[in-house]
């Protein structure tokens, strides 16, 4: 029995060692790939013409529904437009929507968090309750409600996605502000006679924001996904424009005989989400390692 126990212990130790050994290189490869992919996206967003010479809007009826091949690596859609070109040219839109929505959500969250943490007991109670309640409310439902009242288009899309994902961030900021508020260095700054604005700017915000960097990195990917879901439901960018969610939505009608119309735009979304997740985690490990 004791031999079995030792065995088990040795086994788990070996597994741990093996894991650490196999994880370290994997850790470096995955974030590197993720970073590379995001760089590629950035390039596609800034200078799409460098990556694809084909006009994403050029309609060539005789080339409709070409499967992926040499001339069209990702195939063509119902109007003969090149899918690869459309994905590359749609990157800017999708990234802007993701970044814009995340920025909006963060701004709302920071406002709420500071309000709740620094403006007295009543505000603290109210924000605490609001954040607790809204934190897990379905993002898409909230976003749909706002999409209904804002109407279609890019700005409403950003607003709806941003508002939908704000509660998650607000919960984090609020918790951070509460813990930073009573920290020694804030008390010290107060004892030194620094004004409240200066303390917030120099101490509370930077410290409360640190864990938020990780969440926001992952959040951009999620925002892109939520926004594509809204576009997919017909509430985003109007159709002729190349946007990933809209492309998926258009391709949906042809899924029975032209899989590439939906496969590749979706793949772009998945890879973006995976990259931001992997990069966010690598960032998290690094930050934790530094503070520990």
């Amino acid at each position: 029995m004791s031999a079995g126990l030792l065995d088990a212990a040795a086994g788990s130790a070996a597994a741990e060692a093996g894991q650490a050994g196999s994880r370290r290189p994997a850790l470096r490869v995955a974030p590197a790939l993720a970073g590379l992919f995001l760089l590629f996206l950035l390039l596609a967003a800034i200078a799409p013409d460098l990556l694809s010479h084909t006009d994403p809007l050029a309609i060539v009826p005789r080339d409709a529904f070409r499967p992926p091949g040499w001339a069209h690596p990702f195939g063509t859609d119902q109007s003969g437009r090149d899918i690869f070109a459309r994905i590359v040219h749609g990157t800017r839109q999708s990234l802007l929507v993701g970044l814009g929505a995340t920025g909006l959500a963060m701004a709302a969250a920071i406002g709420l968090g500071l309000l709740g943490g620094l403006c007295g007991r009543v505000a603290e109670r109210a924000v605490g309750w609001l954040v607790q309640v809204m934190f897990s409310f379905p993002v898409l439902i909230l976003a749909l409600l706002f999409a209904a009242s804002f109407g279609n288009g890019i700005v409403p899309l950003v607003a709806a996605t941003g508002i939908g994902s704000a509660p998650g961030y607000a919960r984090m900021v609020f918790g951070q502000v509460l813990s930073v508020r009573d920290a020694g260095y804030v008390e010290a700054a107060r004892a030194l006679g620094h004004g409240p604005l200066r303390i917030v700017r120099a101490h509370v915000l930077p410290n409360a924001m640190r864990p938020l960097v990780v969440t926001a990195t992952m959040g951009v990917g999620h925002a892109i996904m939520w926004a594509s879901a809204l576009s997919f439901l017909g509430l985003g960018a109007p159709p002729p424009r190349p946007e990933w969610g809209t492309m998926l939505s258009m391709g949906r009608s042809f899924v029975a005989n032209a899989w590439w119309l939906t496969f590749f735009p979706g793949l772009a979304i998945v890879l973006t989400m995976l990259s931001t997740t992997v990069l966010g985690r690598a960032l998290q490990r690094r930050l934790e390692g530094r503070t520990a």
């Binding site: 597994a15 749909l144 999409a147 209904a148 594509s228």
Partner: protein, 333 residues
């Protein structure tokens, strides 16, 4: 019940400090109920504001969207019923009063009372969400029990699959499944909501991303629990590896995932919107899309309120489940 309060009659003693557990429990249930009422009130308020933020005329938002052409009589009736000629707080009061009486208005895109639409569409969505929740947990448990701290490649494979699974958007997965199983190998029906076979693809599309996420959370807790002294004790008692994992470690590792159940139910119902649209299933999600795209505000608000209600009920169930599973709470009972 053996311990008594040091100040049994002192009203000034804060109730939270009272060691009387029943008291604490009652307080917790009360605050939980108040919180739930709060959620519903918040959802109602946000919906009210959303309706008033809509571009264009509020009368047309109630009576038929931008394309409607109501007669002066119906407009006058709506103005009277909704108090549209009165100040906003009065309108808000009237609105809450109507909700309390279960009057959600009439859906103009369906030509039916909103309540009737909800009654017909709620069950298919709950069916879908429940089956997806069960499948997601099964997938998560299989991955965690099967791969955590096994051979290193197996462990890496499990955690890799979980990461990828969690990053798959439901709508993309749904479309791929639709293409593969319904249109290419003709195994399952592409659409519908009546047969069990039609439930399979939507369930899988919803369950895989959720399962990946639950598995990630459970895996982390599982790894921590495996390092606890009670595991060594159990092994020393001669328990096999499988028994240790399922009987002792799993109970601890399940807790973080269970406490996310409320969120999970919300996410399932939210994502059901997309899935129901793809698979043309009956359900409140698809109705929500229809309501939003036709700017049918009464229907949209009715569904948002219904989702909030479901969310509140799920919160209660989550708490109950937590008490049942948590080994520490169980010992105290």
């Amino acid at each position: 019940m053996s311990d008594t309060s040091p100040f049994p009659t002192a009203p000034a003693a804060p109730p939270a400090a009272s060691p009387d557990r029943l008291h604490v429990l009652a307080r917790r249930i009360l605050s939980r109920c108040l919180g739930s009422v709060g959620v519903l009130l918040a959802a109602a308020t946000v919906s009210f504001l959303a309706m008033h933020m809509m571009p264009g005329d509020i009368v047309s938002a109630i009576l038929g969207g931008p394309a409607a052409d109501p007669t002066p009589q119906t407009v006058a009736a709506a103005v009277r019923e909704y108090g549209l000629d009165r100040p906003l707080p009065v309108q808000y009061g009237l609105y809450l009063d109507r909700l309390l009486h279960g009057n959600l208005g009439t859906s103009f895109s369906q030509h039916l009372p909103v309540i009737a639409v909800l009654r017909a569409e709620l069950l298919p969505t709950l069916e879908l969400a429940a089956s997806a929740l069960v499948l997601a947990w099964l997938l998560a448990l299989a991955s965690v029990l099967g791969t955590v701290r096994r051979r290193s490649w197996l462990s890496a494979l499990g955690s890799g699959l979980e990461t990828v699974g969690a990053a798959l958007p439901q709508f993309w997965l749904g479309l791929l499944l639709l293409w593969l199983f319904a249109f290419t190998i003709h195994l399952l029906p592409p659409a519908g909501s009546d047969s069990v076979a039609a439930l399979v693809l939507p369930t899988v599309a919803l369950a895989v991303p959720l399962g990946g996420f639950l598995a990630q959370v459970t895996r982390e807790a599982f790894e921590i629990a495996l390092d606890q002294p009670f595991v060594l004790t159990a092994r020393a008692r001669g328990l096999g590896d499988w028994s240790v994992r399922t009987r002792h470690v799993l109970r601890h590792a399940l807790l973080p995932g269970i406490s996310l159940s409320n969120w999970a139910v919300g996410a399932l119902i939210g994502n059901a919107v997309v899935i129901e649209t793809i698979f043309s299933r009956k359900g409140i999600g698809r109705q929500l899309v229809l309501g939003v795209s036709s700017q049918d505000m009464p229907l949209t608000i009715g569904i948002v309120l219904l989702v909030s209600l479901t969310y509140v009920v799920a919160g209660f169930l989550t708490d109950a489940l937590y008490v049942l599973v948590d080994p520490r709470l169980g010992a105290r009972r």
